[in-house]
Symmetry: C2
Subunit: 378 residues, 2 copies
Amino acid sequence: MKFVIQKDKLVQSVQDVMKAVSSRTTIPILTGIKIVAHSEGVTLTGSDSDISIESFIPSEEDDKENVEVIQAGSVVLQAKFFSEIVKKLPKDIVEIEVGNHHSTTIRSGKAEFSLNGLDAEEYPHLPQIEEENIFKIPTDLLKAMVRQTVFAVSTSETRPILTGVNWKLENGELICIATDSHRLALRKAMIDSENLETYNVVIPGKSLSELSKILDDTNELIEIVITENQVLFKAKNLLFFSRLLDGNYPDTSRLIPADSKTNLTLNSKDFLQAIDRASLLAKEARNNVVKLSTFTDGLIEISSNSPEIGKVSEEIQAEEVQGEELKISFSAKYVMDALKALEGTEINVNFTGAMRPFVIKTTNDDSMLQLILPVRTY
Amino acid sequence: MKFVIQKDKLVQSVQDVMKAVSSRTTIPILTGIKIVAHSEGVTLTGSDSDISIESFIPSEEDDKENVEVIQAGSVVLQAKFFSEIVKKLPKDIVEIEVGNHHSTTIRSGKAEFSLNGLDAEEYPHLPQIEEENIFKIPTDLLKAMVRQTVFAVSTSETRPILTGVNWKLENGELICIATDSHRLALRKAMIDSENLETYNVVIPGKSLSELSKILDDTNELIEIVITENQVLFKAKNLLFFSRLLDGNYPDTSRLIPADSKTNLTLNSKDFLQAIDRASLLAKEARNNVVKLSTFTDGLIEISSNSPEIGKVSEEIQAEEVQGEELKISFSAKYVMDALKALEGTEINVNFTGAMRPFVIKTTNDDSMLQLILPVRTY
């Protein structure tokens, strides 16, 4: 194998596939990046067996030459060293050549590295996915749907299925749900589907977070293929494979209350900042629990009391308060996470009592919903 | 105590004194910040008993009112909570009032915090320093002198004296020296001294690092007072006290070779980057040791060989090579630290043999010197 490549293209591509490489793998060759030079360009692959990422650098693109392949071939190089090296090479052009025993020379300017490589034949094959049923979604919408749900997955392995996000595709609508059993985030969107297949799968939260980091903020369509145990995201010059989680995701629809007894309409930023301030004292002393009380005249009080340290209270003026008076305690972190995910300027908070889950939505937007369980305090 | 203060002034001042507050102190009250309101303004103090910082916010400054003191008094508030709170207050104006049992109310907009305070009378007194012998130095020069030496102090407590920087003042010249016994950094400057006192003290490296972080990059003069066991830095509205280290600093003058056998003149950036690249493979495998070899025609090779991973070599063109041929091994980190500290574009490296310490200087600048011990390799 021998090729000459633009450094910036190589650096970007290595950075992308590195997202899948883990140093804590039980399969030693997966600490490496597979490099294949072929007639169309160079393909890099990284994998931790849960996530696999393939990045393709075409020989030519937009009338510019990225790669000149002098001799086709392949090798696997230690990801940690290879990624550090390419970033720090002195010139804009890099030459990579494989010699005897997979020993690989990397040249740029007057710097010459020689890395011990491994046989690419021993690198595991990527999942073979039949691309029969493809659906498409704008990349920026996909990133928004991930961002607005993935933070709510469980970080505990006691119920592994909750570490993933439930993706349901039905009648052309994609519904993403995440819950750690203390809060739930839901986001839905109509999508462009060539078929009317129905899916109900669970994608590991970590996979979606890594995917989001790699994708650019464009409205270009990304293709998604779901199989029995894999999902494949296909963007321009990029394939992102993730395994799916085994098991049935709990039916969460019954958790969401149909009616409500106290309804607030609030400025999201005022609400978020008041909770943030109240949580300053609650963070250590009381497991980050703050209290919300409604008053007449649309006044709401956010407060927290930690006898060892002190107390805090703040009034905010709601735009509207309807229904019964209410005092309720909740995790400041969960409500702040939810408000940040909603991204709305005006929000509705709907309560059905101090002991029942409550719902936060952006006003006039039914595509997103955040559900939070209150905390019982005495 | 009661006063109304501009939030930005309070935040800055709290941030400065926080540099001295440690959560790991054996004296509980030192986890707090002392606040004193008096006729001229408000004074904050933080201390970990090694370092003490006093920041003064004058009532009026540049025809603007910073503070309105309604009732003089004092209190000590938990630094961790107080600093977080002031940063997140909603409005530009803050009211602070001490009530019964040192309970302190902090109001801004509609947010009201109440913090349990402590009696300021129980806060340790700052060292009393007789300001007889003061010398002055521009703040930016002081910061440069600290930056160019403090990185070389020892991080090990086996010889505590080496964790400090040796400051010698003699005949109007200030000489700062730091060494961890593997390398040495020296920086000197003529300073404006009102007297001809001679000092030879050792200031903890940590104190100098914290001092540097607080000081602005200005050429305003900072006043320095040295006593038997304390040093005091006086900037505008800021007092910074540090204890001195006990013991005699070793005489380092004999370490610096008077003559040399091989002299290189190099572009500092080329040299730094080549060493940085060579160290990529050496970092793990070989304790970060790289090798330098001189060749004819002013060529220098920087190389490293780690059989498990691979090898790297890079040629750089020196501007001048004089004297004997040389092969020498050294710590990439030490040489990179030294080159970063020198900040010069063209440097001289003077060797007296492969087993002897070598000296790096900026060309045509005798005020700075970096000395590095080579590593013996077989």
